[in-house]
């Protein structure tokens, strides 16, 4: 008897706690309405620069949560000392330097291609920088896409021994591809459009995709050309494989932020502008300390020495660009670090990823 009444008592407590929890959403709704009606003027007075939810959360937490990858040379990989490195990774570090003043205050969440959409939708990550192609449906469903950081296109890699140079010659081939990607959709579109047959071999894990291709399980593999170049560089015999001179799609790789926080969206966009404008103005990690005292008014504005381009409106420090450039350098430096002539990962000509005034497509609005 005593035992059972004790059990019942515990159950009652649990039930009460649950009841309290389950009624929470309703309570939240009520308070929100009250604040909306009563406190709007007061709030505006008290805080002239209202910090958005994400910025506040990042600052309270003391670190940025960045959706990234750890398995793609050049873009997101683990360096020999075990730290995260790569083009996409450095962008997250730039955002962390901008909002926290510390480029190491980043928590990298490794995501597969299939996991990245939900991770952004649920707000589990603050920034998604994991070579994501910006598409209209992803923009509508996943979150906000900021500014194209890398213009890519989908290509094909085949063994040199096959002696192939056009897409048409791949009719009937077995093609390895990563699931949950635009690549997968483009592949089937490209073959269907030309009335060609292929056997898809689809994996969620890119390691398995390229492992199967390298061992001969597929005749060809397809992905963004930059990714193919990265993968090829890691093969045992890179010279046995070639990337076909075909591009079947446009893949603008773009960092994205969760929906519903305009301020955070603007902050991340502004970091992309800063990186690009810094390269255009010739400011880099080496000379940023001197450039603070430059005579060029555009440079002085960019580095926060004089004037203002909206930093304060977004809750950022006047000289946040100095922190960003000191930590990771400008756009060109980040590119060259991994993919330039002396890049640690592989060499990929800038081509369309050059600045607009150098014949490329990389462009950012002026910082004014």
């Amino acid at each position: 008897m005593k035992k059972s009444s004790l059990v019942i008592f515990t159950m009652l407590i649990v039930a009460l706690i649950l009841a309290a929890c389950s009624s929470e959403p309703e309570q939240v709704e009520v308070t929100v309405e009250v604040t909306r009606i009563v406190e709007v003027p007061a709030e505006a007075e008290a805080a002239p620069m209202p910090a958005g939810e994400i910025l506040q959360a990042v600052r309270d937490r003391g670190r940025l949560v960045c959706g990234a990858r750890t398995d793609l040379a050049g873009f997101g990989y683990l360096a020999e000392d075990g730290t995260n490195a790569g083009f996409d990774i450095d962008f997250c570090r730039a955002v962390a330097a901008a909002v926290l003043g510390d480029s190491d205050a980043v928590e990298f969440v490794p995501l597969t291609a299939a996991e990245r959409g939900p991770a952004l939708q649920t707000g589990e990550i603050d920034v998604l920088s994991r070579n994501v192609t910006w598409t209209s449906s992803r923009d509508a469903q996943w979150g906000n896409f900021t500014n194209v950081m890398f213009y890519d296109g989908q290509g094909f890699m085949v063994p040199v021994a096959l002696g192939i140079s056009t897409l048409e010659e791949l009719d009937g081939a077995t093609v390895c591809v990563t699931s949950g990607t635009t690549t997968e959709l483009n592949l089937s579109d490209a073959f269907r459009q030309r009335g060609m047959e292929f056997t898809p071999v689809v994996f969620e894990d890119t390691g398995t995709v390229y492992g199967t291709y390298e061992s001969g399980g597929c005749d060809a593999t397809t992905s963004d050309k930059s990714q193919l170049a990265a993968i090829r560089s890691g093969f045992a015999n890179p010279d046995d494989h070639m990337i076909l001179d075909i591009t079947i799609s446009e893949e603008p790789l773009t960092p994205a932020t969760p929906s519903g926080d305009d301020q955070w969206f603007d902050i991340v966009k502004m970091v992309t502008y800063a990186l690009i404008n810094a390269e255009a103005l010739g400011v880099n990690s080496g000379n940023v300390a001197e450039m603070v005292n430059s005579d060029d008014i555009a440079i002085r504005r960019l580095l926060g020495t004089e004037g203002e381009f909206g930093q304060a409106d977004l809750g950022l420090d006047a000289d946040f660009v100095v922190d960003v450039l000191t930590a990771v350098g400008n756009y060109g430096e980040i590119y060259d670090r991994y993919m330039g002539p002396d890049g640690v990962s592989f060499t990929l000509p800038r081509a369309q990823n050059n600045l607009w005034n150098n014949g490329g497509l990389i462009y950012a609005p002026p910082m004014k």
Binding site: M1, V7, I8, A15, A114, P200, F203, E204
Partner: protein
Amino acid sequence: MKEPESNSSIFSYQGVPIWRDDRVLKGVAQVISALIVLGFLYFFISNVLVAADARGLSLGFDFLDEAAGFPLGESVIIDYDPSMSFLQAFAVGLLNTLKVSLIGIVLATFLGILVGVARLSTNWLIRNIANVYVEMFRNIPLLVTLFFIYFGVFQQLPSVQESFAIGRYIFLNQRGIYMAWFSSTSSTLAWTVILAIAIVLAMIVFVILGRYQISKGKETHPFLWALGISVILPLAGWFILPDKPLLVTLPVLARFNFEGGTVLTTQFTALLLGLVLYTAAFIAEIVRAGIQAVSKGQVEAARAIGLRPMQALRLVIFPQSLRVIIPPLISQYLNLTKNSSLAIAIGYPDLFSVGKITINQAGRAVPVFIMIMATYLLISLTYSVILNLYNRRITFEER
């Protein structure tokens, strides 16, 4: 109101108060546990709804009619192409799961029984081979086994151009097993009907003759009769029908792959092999335990009336051990079915992997996960209902 009244009339002179009445307490406990369960459900569901609303996520199922767009490696029954809808792609995944799990269950059962019996063999070598097999596969995670089979075995096979060939009929390479297979003609349907009738007829004859043999004590050869019927009728059909009902097509190496015949892809074969080897190790243990649960007197009695060891096993021990074997066997079948979702690791387009792709391409996590979970639940419940019916029959007969 009624409850306390009758309560007081019966127990009034004993003076058991309501809060110590066992029936009342049990009733209250039931109500509270129901409330807790409902509270949990309410909490989770409202949480999903509120969160989805706040983030502007759609929870509807309308997207299922849209074109899927993504390619899938293989499909059965449905001839899938990327212009089909998400729902059809999901159906392809479901059929692929059913295919691998049903074939897997049959093979794992045979292998499991074989190994389970071998574990009890009097032959030292056979017994220990079975021991090593069981201990090895039971103690290595299935995912690891799958990766090993996929990368360590199948990817190491010769390339398509240098396939390992058995005559002109079977080719083994990295991409799968290409086999000669049948292609249908105008007479195929008619012949399939004849075949089905022949098999049913053979089963009926087998049962009737079997009963006759037992009741009259005369040798009637039921097995031979059944075999004869199931061979002669289809053979007759083969020659009477206008076209040959089945033509054999041989796999021929085209530019990239073999064409013609049929193929068991590496992905399918690796998954099937992994599931069978893993589950059979558990089934072997269940079979061993089942056999050892039959009392020793039964074995001795069977031997005493002159049955040979295999006869004793088949006629006396195994039927009795089924009572012990079937219930845990059902849960192994369900395990195999659920474990088939590991297909995602090695690229077999099963229910879960198609579901994951759909989540990504359609951007609808919650509805698709609900579909995936509901479908697995449905498959598992169907399997267990069927097997439980069988189990009930077996236990009943034994009593």
